[in-house]
């Protein structure tokens, strides 16, 4: 039997659901409609088939997810992924952290930043802009969320404008949402 993974990794595990995924062949019209678009336009996963139990929410969520992560302008793609990873580290969603650390690594073409974040969390030795983004996103992901004028100021000091701060907020909080689904409705297991 495959093993549950508890440590952060950039090797994307398999997600094993605790809820029965819907059967696509017997899906209702509303469920089929909601399954037309998938996150990051990948194939229909068990995760999406679990969320299809609530097609009303899923239909909107997928467009919102893709817009927050991929719409043009504002914060760069890699820095949006940083927000996603920061939330996933705080919420210990191993699966989301792996997927988005891997995307980050592909965009920047370097694995050092993610290795350091997974190994040392808040103590990671990072460039000032990356460090500020990570710190902001991690503080925002705590409960209750920590965000004060000084947190916004720390982002401005490393050059983020209002648009970039808004985009970082959206990608970080979107993953507070995704983590709460992915990490509770199933678990990451090894691929063997």
């Amino acid at each position: 039997m495959s093993r549950v993974i508890h440590k952060f990794t950039t090797r994307v595990p398999t997600w094993r659901p605790h809820i029965t995924p819907i059967d696509f062949d017997n899906a209702t019209p509303a469920q089929r409609e909601a399954l037309k678009e998938t996150p990051s336009n990948t194939k229909i996963s068990d995760y999406v088939l679990v969320l299809a139990h609530d097609p009303e929410s899923l239909r909107i969520r997928t467009s919102l997810f893709n817009g927050i992560m991929y719409d043009k302008g504002g914060l760069s793609r890699d820095e949006r992924e940083l927000g996603a990873v920061a939330a996933s580290v705080v919420n210990r969603c191993i699966y989301c952290a792996a997927v988005h650390a891997q995307r980050y690594n592909q965009i920047v073409g370097d694995e050092k930043v993610m290795q350091d974040i997974f190994l040392r969390g808040k103590e990671a030795d990072l460039a000032p802009r990356i460090r500020a983004i990570l710190k902001f996103a991690m503080r925002l992901s705590e409960c209750p969320p920590n965000v004060a004028q000084s947190d916004i100021q720390s982002l401005r000091e490393v050059g983020l404008d209002d648009q970039e701060i808004l985009d970082l907020t959206l990608s970080t909080t979107l993953f507070g949402w995704a983590n709460r689904l992915m990490h509770t409705l199933g678990e990451p297991v090894s691929n063997t």
Binding site: R61, L64, I68, D71, R92, Q149, D167, R180
Partner: protein, 164 residues
């Protein structure tokens, strides 16, 4: 479409933040549509709208988000004075153990709002043991996850909008 987050966060109608939000207006509209799907769904299953409003208000209080606490308290009040008999909108309050399904839902809401990292398979089991169907478990999880997103977006917008 009235946008609940921007209203709750009291976002100024002009200036750099308003301009940034206008650039992402499609995303803010989808956020509003997600609010409607989570709080005012056309198919509420076994998670009635009044219970959704009470739980959202509880999460807003746990996350200390004043604007959305007020919004959800008003939404709940709109369902009448019997809408939240166990005062679940107040963190710490629990329904009697005889209300098995509601009790399990409140446990899930508190755990996944405060400490999602600690959630395990056992927490989903507890919901099905209490007699909650899989459709409704996904509805509940979706509600908790959405509201936690919304609360954090509102938290940032209200601080940014407040800057001198």
């Amino acid at each position: 479409m009235t946008n609940i987050i921007e209203k709750a966060a009291n976002v100024p109608s002009t200036g750099p933040l308003a301009e940034a939000l206008a650039v992402r207006s499609k995303l803010m509209d989808l956020t509003q549509a997600s609010y409607e799907a989570a709080l005012l769904p056309s198919d509420e299953g076994q998670v009635p709208a009044n219970v959704r409003a009470a739980l959202a208000c509880r999460m807003a209080r746990i996350c200390q988000q004043a604007g959305l606490t007020q919004h959800y308290a008003e939404l709940l009040a709109g369902y009448g004075c019997e809408a939240d008999p166990y005062q679940l909108a107040e963190p710490g309050n629990k329904p009697p153990a005889s209300e098995k399904r509601l009790y399990a839902m409140v446990e899930y809401v508190d755990l996944v709002t405060q400490s999602p990292r600690d959630a395990t398979k056992a927490d989903i089991h507890a919901l099905s043991e209490a007699g909650i169907k899989e459709d409704d478990i996904v509805r509940l999880a979706g509600l908790v996850a959405f509201v936690n997103y919304q609360l954090r977006v509102a938290a940032v917008l209200s601080v940014m909008g407040d800057a001198k």
